[in-house]
Subunit: 200 residues, 3 copies
């Protein structure tokens, strides 16, 4: 099952990379949708390869590299969200920093099998809450739909983290990584297609 999930992710994000590249080719500037998909593709190749994991006492593998790649892809997504929300300059830098902190502390929590991982998890959650408060507090005409993406997309990640072998271990590695794949599709592919349609 795990292998299947990673191959599915690998194939899907290869296709979405090609799609977003061709769609964005003639636009000026920065093709964030393509870069998000390409970074996620690399992440799935690395998880499929499978040699950078830790194994819990229950014998479940944790693919901690995922969170390092999220530090890259989610800062890119945050640039897109900030643009919709018209957050610029210092406010944008702060959002990118918080996003990176959420993911790097997530990586520290994922790599660690001791009880101290909960401290990392709390710090990651604090940074995430500060991030969400900041993003949701800005209201613009066009950005209403983004808030639901963040609520139903981004916020489910720490819930899966909590239930997965990284946290309480109520879900196995297979189910957890399948859920992450569905969340990746929702927040990185569906989101960018929607963003393209709203014409920004």
């Amino acid at each position: 099952m795990l292998n299947l999930v990673f191959v599915a992710g690998l194939v899907l994000f290869a296709i979405s990379s090609a799609y977003f590249y061709s769609v964005g080719k003639n636009k000026a500037g920065f093709n964030s949708a393509f870069l998000v998909s390409f970074v996620t593709l690399i992440s799935y190749v690395l998880m499929w390869q499978g040699n950078l994991t830790v194994v819990t006492q229950a014998g479940q593998p944790i693919y901690w590299t995922r969170w390092l790649f999220y530090a890259l892809s989610c800062t890119l997504l945050m640039v897109e969200i900030a643009q919709l929300k018209q957050i610029q300059g210092g406010g944008l830098v702060q959002l990118l920093y918080l996003t990176a902190i959420v993911m790097v502390t997530g990586f520290l929590a994922a790599r660690d099998l001791t009880a101290i991982r909960w401290v990392h998890f709390v710090l990651s959650s604090v940074a995430y809450v500060l991030l969400v408060i900041k993003v949701l507090s800005v209201k613009t005409a066009k950005s209403g739909w983004v808030n639901s993406y963040i609520f139903f997309g981004w916020t489910v990640f720490p819930v899966v983290f909590l239930l997965a072998p990284t946290g309480l271990g109520l879900l196995g590695a297979g189910v957890a990584n399948l859920l992450y794949l569905l969340l990746d599709i929702y927040t990185k592919i569906v989101f960018n297609i929607q963003l393209g349609r709203t014409g920004s």
Copy 2:
């Protein structure tokens, strides 16, 4: 003693994170003081956890993760210093690059137990001297007090590095990490309180 130092650092930087967040909440832009404290808090959690170290022949542990987190927190501090000194654009990018080089070569020197660590130490020192020359050469009305912070705060770090198990081993790990904690308080908390008072 080591454990006490790390718990003290952890608690202090948790408090200063909360303080700088609440003080800066309503300001526009970039809350650097908060991010510096929060990054340092993560660094202390990781050192308290204690599994990412190398041990010298004399049996002293070296917490090399410290220098990777300084690469983050000190580039943030450098943004603040550059703002006071009105260094912008390319000049600022150069300062941030040099700061990161100082800390990454510091990390390489700290991780390495062979004589080659002295080569890393020399490269780190060269980058640091170039950095200080650049910062001190710019004189503005408001920034006089910053120079003494750099002289008495930043410059003591490589001196401790030299005397600690990372260098000559004249100090033990406990004393060295206590001195680093005092320096962290001075350069990351006292500095930012002072910066807030001068109203920039």
Copy 3:
């Protein structure tokens, strides 16, 4: 031979660091030529030290740290190339991202001894081709000579990677690292001297 190559690289890039620093000292802004040489100097110190390698079945060492340092030095070079080509804003960010992806996937391919390294190599090549298309598609009066640098300098790196122990293993580690040194001199020293002469 390997040791000789690394010492030669170390000495040459120490000299070029000092040269570019003194030449650029009085210019405003960002001394990229110096930083490229200094970062490369650190990279050669680390390879000379020699403890961060993987060894192939044929007994050849692979110095994978090289590619992490290229992620830093080549993004700096790309800033210089983009300036000549007058690529700014979002277009520049995309180029820097692609450059970093080329090098990080190169690092993943170099570290990996299994057949999956070819997947990383393909992803690195895709990112590189997209990068080159983007750079070559912009034509400005002054930038004709840059295209040949990229063709004859940058593009030889993946060819060496392919023939070296990282790929097919037709070249030994000694010859491969000698070729990389020559390419480093061409793309990081000769290029920056040429750039200084054309007066940009």
